[in-house]
């Protein structure tokens, strides 16, 4: 079963009369899930009627801890009924169903880490997720058409195979060795691009056009939509939302290691590559909400290790996107504890900050 979690009050508050369009589209998603042999339930966390089947009371939609508690209770009730909770799909961005804001375990400038990990964990040990979870976000604008288009993408791909194929890998030049170790999971030697010499002005749209796997290992900034390369002490703009205007990326699976690559808070479509990719009908986007870490050469650690495992799970084991990220995080934790005996601050931050945008129950057909 896929549990669809959102807030009726927050959706109505933001979208007004368009709430009914959203509600209709969410129900259409349920129909698509059913056709894909997946039961579902819509839970409005602040609506008594939708919680009645579970004999639970509404919670405050502004309190992520209460929402987590609600999901945990629903999970227990389903288990008691011998029903499986396969996926959790959060509908809405931070103003609809808030990210948890956890203390930053790494020594850097980020005060906290917006994360969905607690929603994906069955207990208070929130570093290790045990649920397949994804989020269909909205953007800053009060126009519901963005979120409706994302729901349409999910509906479409529950019935159809992506027509995208092959891959595109783009890396800061200083991380070439490390990036190739990730890319090798989804590609051969071809279609690997380094910045420099690549910049957003010479980025060839054919590199991403029609590509299934799109991997980026570039710098990012909290207040900019751009991703940056690096050669020595030069940090050129390597890729930005305008590059996607010239490329068809529908049906793609995107993984980025860029710092703030999945930061959507207070962002509109052209303020964040994550939102631009989703608007352009990417099936799934995985990235970090804050500063992300990785090695400059193999062996893969942190974000690189999440990337290797996520892409491998999607491609080689045909896991759903939500399961792929969940298993990648579990693998990272086991691998790093095995290598060094513990999870340091950077490992912990990696586990928390990588999020999935898209329907977690989708997979490659």
């Amino acid at each position: 079963m896929e549990l669809i979690v959102t807030s009726k009050g927050k959706l109505k508050q933001k979208y007004g009369g368009d709430f009914s369009r959203l509600e209709t589209k969410i129900k259409a998603l349920q129909t698509a899930l059913k056709a894909d042999k997946l039961d579902s339930a819509i839970v409005y966390v602040d609506d008594a009627a939708s919680l009645k089947p579970f004999n639970l009371k509404p919670v405050n939609p502004e309190k992520p801890g209460e929402i987590k508690g609600l999901i945990d209770q629903i999970h227990k009730k389903l288990t008691a009924q011998k029903k499986q909770l396969d996926h959790v799909l959060i509908i809405g961005g931070d103003t609809i169903i808030p990210f948890h804001r956890l203390k930053n375990p790494a020594d850097d400038q980020d005060a906290d880490v917006p994360t969905d990990n607690p929603y994906a964990s069955t207990d208070e040990d929130i570093l290790i997720p045990e649920r397949s979870l994804g989020r269909i976000p909205d953007c800053k604008s009060a126009d519901a058409s963005f979120m409706i288009s994302l729901l349409d993408t999910a509906i479409f791909y529950h019935g159809k195979k992506s027509s995208a194929s092959k891959s595109c890998c783009t890396s800061a030049e200083v991380w070439t060795e490390a990036s190739r170790a990730v890319c090798t999971v989804v590609t051969g030697a071809g279609n690997f691009h380094q910045s420099l010499p690549v910049t957003f002005t010479n980025f060839n749209s054919s590199w991403t056009n029609g590509k299934l796997y799109q991997y980026f290992n570039l710098h990012g900034a909290e207040d900019q939509p751009n991703w940056y390369g690096q050669t020595a002490s030069a940090y050129p703009i390597a890729f930005n939302p305008e590059n996607l205007d010239k490329s068809k990326v529908e049906g793609s699976v995107v993984f980025t290691e860029a710092c703030y690559g999945a930061n959507i808070i207070d962002k509109d479509i052209n303020d964040a590559l994550s939102l631009k990719y989703l608007k352009s009908k990417a099936m799934c986007f995985v990235g970090a909400t804050k500063i992300a870490y990785g090695p400059d050469k193999p062996p893969s650690t942190e974000a690189d290790l999440i990337g290797v495992k996520f892409l491998g799970n999607v491609k080689n084991y045909k896991m759903t996107f939500g399961e792929s990220l969940m298993k990648a995080k579990q693998h990272l934790a086991k691998e790093m504890i095995g290598r060094q005996g513990h999870l340091d601050g950077d490992d912990q931050k990696t586990l928390l900050e990588f999020v999935l945008y898209g329907d977690p129950s989708l997979k490659l057909r």
Binding site: T301, Q340, D344
Partner: protein
Amino acid sequence: MAVPKELIDKVKKEMAEGSPEMADVEPTVDIKELSMASTTTKKLGIEKLEAKKVYTFTFKKTVTAEGGAKLPIVSRVTTDEDGNVIKKTGN
């Protein structure tokens, strides 16, 4: 117990060689004894290992990217008590 100066100098030298942009950065040094909560190892189905003392050297600077964006750059080297490098990472 303070981190040996020879180790600090060794890490700085290696950092400057591998990442010249950090050559002028003085690292902060953190000494920690790290272990995992048994709830976490149990959840992962693995053995809990004994706590280890590690030294973490953090190099930070802010660089200016094309277009004027300020990028925080963090590079970190973690060693064991004997100075063996456990991990090098960066953003």
